[in-house]
């Protein structure tokens, strides 16, 4: 573009930016308290709607003026609903409150907003350094994170484009529109950014291939078909800061020469669909998307496409087929989508996190980005850490941090002081790593080498009460159900894997099963058509590699070391601990398997027992008399009281 055009572009955008700053200033300087409430799906699930309503009602009731600012998710799921109250008149800094129920909200309005008492017992910390309240940055859950993609998540209103612009949003789009596509791609290449969907393909290279691909029409697709069990990174980003993703898409589209883009979101994410649709609308109204963006010659239409929930549609070729209206079945690659994608046009498909990484990279430069993370995996990784971990939630860390640091330092370790058993990374395509490998750095290559994979960011932490055979069975059950049925290895092979694992957990395993599990898994990995099949055996293969003794115990001794496989365990009551005359277990047993002995203690009728474990929950902690054993034939024989005549 000519210098005159550039000047016009800047002019048009600075008018928008001024408006955004004016609004931001008005909000900041309003002489009333501001209440920021996390209103993404995770917050809402924990009751944020009720919390917001309680704030509104109590404020109205007590005639207090305050501004409620709905924001996205800050990533601290263990603390939801999360509220930050900024009440300058009180003399306190902005305060971070956790688990703010409707009742707590009412109380905070009365005691803090009205009377100035911040109620220290409910505080997580202050959001800034100060002399009165410890800052949240003193906790490792906050200070060991490095926020690049999620920097603004939880601080801006995702439904207000001006909030994003006031934070510097869309200025990178303005900058790139004044550059040649070559320069943009070079910068992205230099940054070393690798695809955050899991495979880690260099983003700059993908863009370059698409730019050079033959075709008048090119398309950009944002893949938000997140489907791994326990993973919700993409949803949170779209619900908390959709404009950063849209800006990334616009930059990508300009760089590769595309005028059409699609955000592919699964329909199970209704809030994300709503927020992204609204964000596109707002961006169009301001001329940041649509025809002649900011008076330039660049046009971009972005549409939202709702995926219908098939896991395999996260695979790019299946995703394309499903947009085209066919069954979501993958195709052989090559040709790759960058050559022949949606409707046959060259198509760039990038994950949400990849696209959201682009504006910060262009803002701070490739060298800055390379300074974060490791040499071969620059930048940050976002994980949704779930399972038996204290501070579950979304964590953005520099690549290269070890699993131990992430799980034990940042996320607070294992719940209930139990021991760590395994961590499952990369969802159903990933693997289970044992305690020995906790010092593995988190980056694309190290995790692949260990037998897991980066995946898109699901991480399930498991404690000592987890049976690894059962975990493998769980994931195989998932992939087997999600197989599209197209190719032989995945369709029939995963079915056989699942059957073998089911047999093992039921104690019906045979010696040859482990061997067959291994060889079949290897063949499925090599033989399958798409990524789903190629990675489906990973949970079985890694658990077999690292927890072989558990598998052997299931086969040879019919024993489940974690005492979890129902067919292999039995419950009994330790008669030394069982309290005479107590009926807690007997009253809760759903199948009347609990009987009374002659000295009025309790026994379990093994024939009747369904091993639900209710008695273990019901037994008062002061007795703690319920025990589990495996194999089940080790259970002591307890005699019933003789029938009264």
């Amino acid at each position: 573009m000519s210098p005159a055009d550039n000047e016009k572009l800047d002019q048009v955008f600075s008018a928008i930016r001024e408006e955004a700053e004016k609004r931001r200033k008005a909000f900041r300087e309003a002489p009333v308290p501001k209440i920021h409430i996390g209103m993404a799906t995770c917050g809402i699930a924990s009751g944020a709607l009720e919390t917001k309503k309680a704030f509104e009602e109590t404020l109205a009731e007590r005639n207090i003026e305050a501004l409620i600012h709905p924001v996205g998710c800050i990533g601290h799921c263990y603390a939801e609903p999360v509220v930050i109250i900024d009440h300058p008149d009180s003399g306190f800094p902005p305060i971070f409150y956790h688990e703010v129920t409707a009742g707590k909200a009412k109380m905070l309005v009365k005691l803090f907003l009205e009377e100035g008492d911040p109620r220290f017992e409910h505080i997580l910390g202050a959001t800034v350094e100060n002399d009165l309240i410890p800052s949240v940055m003193e906790f490792s859950r906050f200070n060991q994170e490095k926020r690049v993609v999620m920097e603004k998540c939880g601080y801006i209103d995702p439904e207000d484009i001006y909030d994003y612009i006031a934070e510097g949003g869309y200025s990178m789009l303005v900058k790139v529109l004044q550059l040649t596509p070559d320069k943009i791609i070079k910068e992205v290449r230099n940054s070393g950014l690798r695809g955050r969907g899991g495979a880690g393909f260099p983003t700059g290279k993908k863009w370059e291939l698409a730019m050079h691909a033959e075709g008048q029409i090119k398309i950009v697709i944002c893949n938000a078909d997140e489907g791994d069990p326990g993973a919700y990174m993409d949803r949170t980003i779209l619900e908390s800061n959709p404009h950063q993703v849209l800006e990334g898409m616009a930059i990508c589209a300009y760089a590769v020469g595309a005028n059409k883009a699609v955000v592919y979101i699964r329909a199970e994410y209704p809030l994300a669909v709503k927020i992204v649709t609204k964000a596109i609308q707002q961006a169009k109204e301001l001329g940041l998307l649509g025809k002649g963006i900011l008076s330039s010659t660049f046009d971009l239409e972005i549409d939202v496409f709702r995926g219908s929930g098939a896991f395999v549609c996260g695979e790019e070729t299946a995703l394309i087929r499903s947009i085209e209206g066919y069954r979501g079945m993958p195709r052989h690659r090559p040709p790759y989508p960058v050559e022949k994608g949606l409707w046959g046009h060259p198509t760039v498909i990038n994950n949400v996190k990849t696209l959201a990484s682009v504006p910060p990279i262009l803002e701070n430069g490739a060298t800055w980005f390379r300074g974060i993370g490791t040499e071969n995996s620059p930048g940050t990784a976002i994980f949704s850490v779930v399972g038996n971990v204290v501070h579950a939630g979304l964590v953005e860390i520099p690549m290269g941090v070890t699993l131990r640091t992430l799980i034990f330092d940042i996320c607070g370790g294992i719940l209930n002081k139990k021991k760590f058993r395994a961590v499952q990374i990369g969802g159903p395509s990933g693997g289970c790593l044992p305690a020995d490998l906790l010092d593995t750095p988190i980056d694309f290559d190290s995790l692949t080498e260990a037998g897991a994979m980066m995946g898109s960011g699901g991480m399930v932490v498991m404690d000592e009460d987890t049976c690894m055979v059962d975990v493998a069975r769980y994931f195989l059950d998932f992939t087997q159900k999600e197989s599209c049925g197209k190719c032989t290895f995945c369709r029939i092979g995963t079915h056989h894997l699942l059957r073998i694992l089911e047999r093992l957990t039921k104690g019906e395993g045979q010696d040859k099963d482990l061997e067959q599990l291994e060889s079949l898994s290897e063949d499925i990995k090599t033989g399958s058509l798409c990524g789903l099949g190629k990675t489906a055996p990973n949970p079985a293969l890694t658990s077999l590699k690292y927890f072989r003794d558990e598998y052997e115990a299931h086969v040879k001794e019919k024993r489940c070391p974690a005492l979890m496989c129902r067919s292999l365990i039995a419950y009994y009551f330790d008669l030394d601990l069982c309290a005479r005359g107590c009926d807690a277990c007997a009253t809760c047993c759903p199948v009347e398997a609990v009987f009374t002995t002659s000295n009025r203690k309790k026994g379990v009728d093994q024939e009747l027992c369904v091993k639900c474990g209710e008695c273990m929950v019901a037994c008062p902690p002061e007795y703690d008399a319920v025990r589990k054993v495996s194999p089940s034939n080790l259970v002591p024989v307890v005699e019933r009281a003789p029938e009264k005549k």
Partner: protein
């Protein structure tokens, strides 16, 4: 015309040919079930036609490779055979083996592959898992045997090619996938009575005309 070396035999084929077609045209058999020369885009779903190509790390399906000059190909290495056999055994583990009563007995592609791979039709290693019911009689003229079908998709392709739109399609998902006419049983709108392309192309006798059985 590209020249290539397959199992130490030099062959010369037309530019743009798939490797599988090139081999088949030159009398080199590679097991295959879902490949049709007339498909623009091979479905590569049966996963039978694996070969090893020099320079490639892993075995690769020959239906998805276009021949190149000086390509060196092996169709019978240990790793290739292992994949052939595993894929074949997997298919047989969901196949109702009852050749005596099957109308394609001795013409069946599975019998041919079994002979070629020296694999028995009743594999001992894997459990059999058959679908219920054994026969789908939904279509007015055709009967479909899900426990014979290998889901190669040839019937769908050929029907679409001949009639513009296919009467048959894949239905259900994953392990439960079957071929179905999806209740398109309005006799007047179907050309099926006089057309048997799908029956003729089925490599395993999973489709059969109702009247032919009587």
């Amino acid at each position: 015309m590209p020249k290539l070396l397959v199992d130490n035999k030099e062959i010369e084929v037309k530019e743009g040919t798939t490797l599988l077609q090139a081999c088949l045209d030159n009398g080199i058999y590679i097991p295959n079930l879902c490949y049709l020369e007339s498909m623009d885009d091979p479905s590569a779903s049966c996963r039978m036609c694996f070969v090893e190509i020099e320079g490639e790390e892993k075995p690769i399906t020959s239906c998805t490779v276009t021949v190149k000059d000086d390509m060196v190909v092996k169709t019978d290495t240990l790793s290739v055979r292992r994949l052939h056999r595993t894929a074949f055994r997997l298919l047989l583990s969901v196949h109702h083996v009852d050749c005596k009563n099957c109308h394609v007995n001795k013409k069946c592609e599975l019998q041919r592959i079994a002979k070629y791979l020296e694999v028995g039709l009743k594999p001992k290693h894997l459990e059999q898992h058959l679908k219920e019911p054994d026969i789908d009689q939904d279509h007015p003229f055709l009967d479909y045997y899900p426990n014979r079908c290998v889901l190669c998709g040839k019937c769908i392709h050929i029907c679409r090619k001949k009639h513009g739109q296919s009467v048959l399609t894949f239905a259900k998902r994953g392990f439960d996938t079957v071929i179905s006419s999806y209740g398109k049983n309005d006799v007047s709108s179907l050309a099926c009575e006089k057309c048997v392309v799908c029956v003729d192309i089925c490599p395993v006798g999973a489709l059969i005309l109702k009247e032919a059985q009587e």
